[in-house]
């Protein structure tokens, strides 16, 4: 049997390092010895039943279940007592509210899992409102927004490096689809989404993609990125103004966005000059060197 040189304790046979300080036991095998009767065997010989929740979480879960059950019973009794009262939304709201508290208790602390659950629960609640009261249009907007939120905020966090391209494509397409869906909800046609939203969307996507490609290729300063984004935004606004004018059947190129067009033009000129001057300077610098 060996001693730990750091702690001074004697180590039982078979221990190759001290459990108190992790100091490795150096010496011949006879010194370490063989473990005749281990403290506890290494292999599991029976099914292990470990509870998944600690005391506090279990308590909160039980309280939530208790109060949700009480609320549901109360709602059902009220529905029987008052025939005019439809408890559907109240029941769904109670269940969803309880689930909102329970999800972070029982789920692993993962942003994707918890966000996804919250999106699903909110969708269920809004869906119940939409079914119960179809004239509430805002419910449909909310449903579309929830799906868009999940695609833009949660999908990127999903694991899988090789699907980055697919994720980006889905994110880009989803924005366009969202615009189409909101148009459909509002007017039951694709009138302004094709005439106004689509050109802005296409313009923005193309030039932002170009910017992203340029940034991935070489050194682009933060100033240039910010100015480029402002320029793209300005021109997107101008295009939007022009398309809106055309959609409403009015005369003229643009109406209120003249100042934005001027700003956009100045920024574009500045960026072009900056880029050109840099290339000219580098050209002469290389020639001199």
């Amino acid at each position: 049997m060996a001693y730990c040189v750091s702690c001074g304790v004697k180590l039982a046979s078979g221990l190759e390092k001290c459990p108190l300080c992790n100091t490795v036991v150096y010496g011949p095998p006879e010194l370490i010895g063989n473990s005749q009767e281990p403290l506890f065997p290494l292999s599991q010989q029976e099914e292990i039943i470990h509870p998944s929740l600690d005391k506090t979480r279990k308590a909160i879960l039980e309280l939530v279940i208790t109060f949700v059950a009480l609320a549901l019973v109360t709602l059902v009794i009220t529905a029987f007592a008052l025939p005019t009262f439809n408890p559907l939304i109240a029941i769904v709201a109670t269940l969803v509210g309880g689930a909102f508290i329970v999800v972070p208790l029982v789920c692993k602390p993962s942003y994707v899992k918890i966000s996804s659950w919250y999106v699903v629960l909110t969708t269920i609640l809004v869906l119940s409102i939409a079914i119960r009261i179809p004239e509430y249009k805002w419910a449909y907007y909310t449903l579309a927004s929830l799906v868009l939120y999940w695609i833009l905020a949660v999908l990127p966090a999903l694991k899988g490096k090789k699907y980055v391209g697919v994720k980006i494509a889905i994110m880009i397409l989803s924005v366009g689809l969202f615009l189409l869906v909101t148009n459909l909800i509002e007017t039951h046609t694709l009138s302004w989404s094709i005439a106004v939203a689509l050109p802005i969307y296409l313009f923005t996507m193309i030039f932002v993609s170009l910017l992203v490609w340029r940034v991935s290729k070489g050194k682009v300063g933060v100033t240039s990125i910010v100015f480029s984004l402002i320029t793209i935004a300005s021109w997107a606004v101008v295009i939007g103004d022009h398309c809106a004018l055309k959609y409403r059947g009015k005369e003229g190129l643009i109406s209120w966005s003249l100042s934005v067009a001027i700003v956009g033009s100045c920024l574009l000129l500045f960026l072009l000059l900056r880029f050109s001057l840099l290339r000219v300077r580098n050209y002469f610098h290389n020639r001199i060197v």
Binding site: C7, P41, T66
Partner: protein
């Protein structure tokens, strides 16, 4: 087997079923190492015959409308091969056919794990001693069986000795608890084998008993840990909970829970304590609390809580989560760790020839993380630490190296990998 009627849980036990959860298994483990081989079939026969003498153990836990209760369990009892860690969670239905104890075995070891709602360390020890004796008889050793009357050994002693008193529900400040670190679902054990003569010698230099000395070492170690982990203005009292066997103070022979937890310690906010100061504090606090009048107050406090109208008539499904949330206020929050010493295992001359050593483990909790338990056989004491920490061993290291510094020979083994 004799069938018991429905049995309400004793005053100490009612807290365990609702608060059992992950990292809070509320179990303890007693084991003996024999000089002869342990044969599973023979051990099972010995267990069945021991249960004839201890019918109180043949119960299962059921949740009633107001309180949990025990009901007779007629399912088959079994013995199980040893497992990778002590003090496992007891599922009321899935574990051990509903029984609240489990008997494990290895080549030479018989171990008993008990859910604390059923019995305490002394009760469990009596059962284990009877089981070992029965096993030795079946193995051909010349021993006489004890006759134990079931009814006497299952009284609720708290109910019997309860005196209505106007108790003061004073709330002590929360004690220091070690920092969080990754936890393990399997209890990590470090077992230290110490010659009694060595530790007795050191304890006598401080003029304290062995238990008082070990408690002092724990407090001293926790003081060092707190000084490392916290700034001075965030110091908290350091307390150790010491279960006291009330059978030594009251005339009761019950198998059920009959212990109270004495909380002793220091307040480092008043300054750094030396080992001598700590031992003096521990000795005076423990001895001053160990009298019937003082203990009657605590029995009255615990028992009167149960009689309160709101608590008595609240349904179990309300009581369960509230007990989980509020049990720590009067429980684990008030002390930093637990230290339980069962003392010298009393064995007759013939049995002691076949028993090499014994072990006692207490389950830790999520608040206190590490607990300490001790039992002695012959010339050696086993001081066992149970921890939920995956890797952190600060408390164990501080205590055991302190013992080594005082020329106490310490041999350790562990299930940590």
């Amino acid at each position: 087997m004799a069938h018991n009627p429905l049995i309400p849980l004793d005053n100490s036990a009612i807290i365990y079923p609702p608060t059992a959860a992950r990292y809070n298994s509320h179990t303890f483990r007693l084991s003996v190492e024999l000089t002869i081989e342990v044969v599973a079939e023979r051990l099972l026969t010995a267990l069945e015959q021991t249960l004839e003498l201890f019918p109180y153990f043949t119960v299962a836990l059921h949740p009633g409308f107001f309180w949990y209760y025990f009901a007779p369990n007629t399912k088959e009892v079994n013995v199980y091969p040893e497992v990778a860690g002590p003090c496992r969670f007891f599922h009321p239905k899935k574990n051990a056919n509903g029984y609240l104890f489990k008997v494990h075995y290895t080549k030479n070891r018989i171990a008993l794990e008990v859910f604390h709602a059923l019995s305490d360390g002394s009760g469990g020890l009596r059962f284990l001693q009877a089981l070992v004796k029965e096993y030795l008889i079946l193995s051909g050793v010349d021993l006489t069986r004890d006759a134990t009357t079931g009814s006497i050994t299952q009284e609720d002693a708290f109910e019997k000795f309860y005196t209505p008193l106007k108790s003061v529900f004073a709330l002590d400040p929360p004690a220091f608890h070690m920092k969080r670190s990754p936890y393990s679902d399997e209890v990590q054990a470090i077992s230290a084998r110490i010659p009694i003569s060595d530790i007795k010698k050191v304890a006598s230099t401080y003029k304290v008993t062995i238990t008082e000395y070990i408690v002092s070492e724990l407090i001293y170690a926790l003081q060092k840990i707190q000084e490392r982990e916290r700034s001075k203005r965030r110091y908290k009292p350091i307390k150790v909970s010491v279960p006291v066997n009330l059978r030594r103070l009251y005339p009761s022979d019950t198998l059920r829970n009959f212990t109270l937890f004495m909380v002793v310690g220091i307040d480092p906010r008043l300054g750094h304590y030396t080992m001598e100061e700590i031992t003096t504090q521990v000795m005076h606090q423990l001895r001053s609390q160990l009298n019937q009048k003082y203990i009657n107050r605590y029995i009255a406090r615990n028992r009167s809580g149960r009689s309160h109208v709101l608590i008595r008539y609240a349904p179990n499904w309300i009581k369960k989560p509230l007990m989980k949330l509020f049990s720590d206020i009067y429980g684990d929050n008030l002390y930093s760790t637990t230290m339980s010493n069962l003392g010298q295992l009393e064995l007759d001359e013939i049995t002691s020839e076949y028993v090499q050593s014994a072990d006692f483990y207490l389950s830790p909790s999520k608040t206190n993380k590490v607990s300490c338990a001790a039992v002695s056989v012959g010339e050696y004491m086993k001081l066992n630490f149970s921890s939920i920490y995956k890797e952190k061993v600060d408390l164990e290291r501080e205590v055991l190296t302190s013992l080594v510094d005082k020329q106490i020979r310490v041999e350790i083994s562990t299930n940590r990998r």
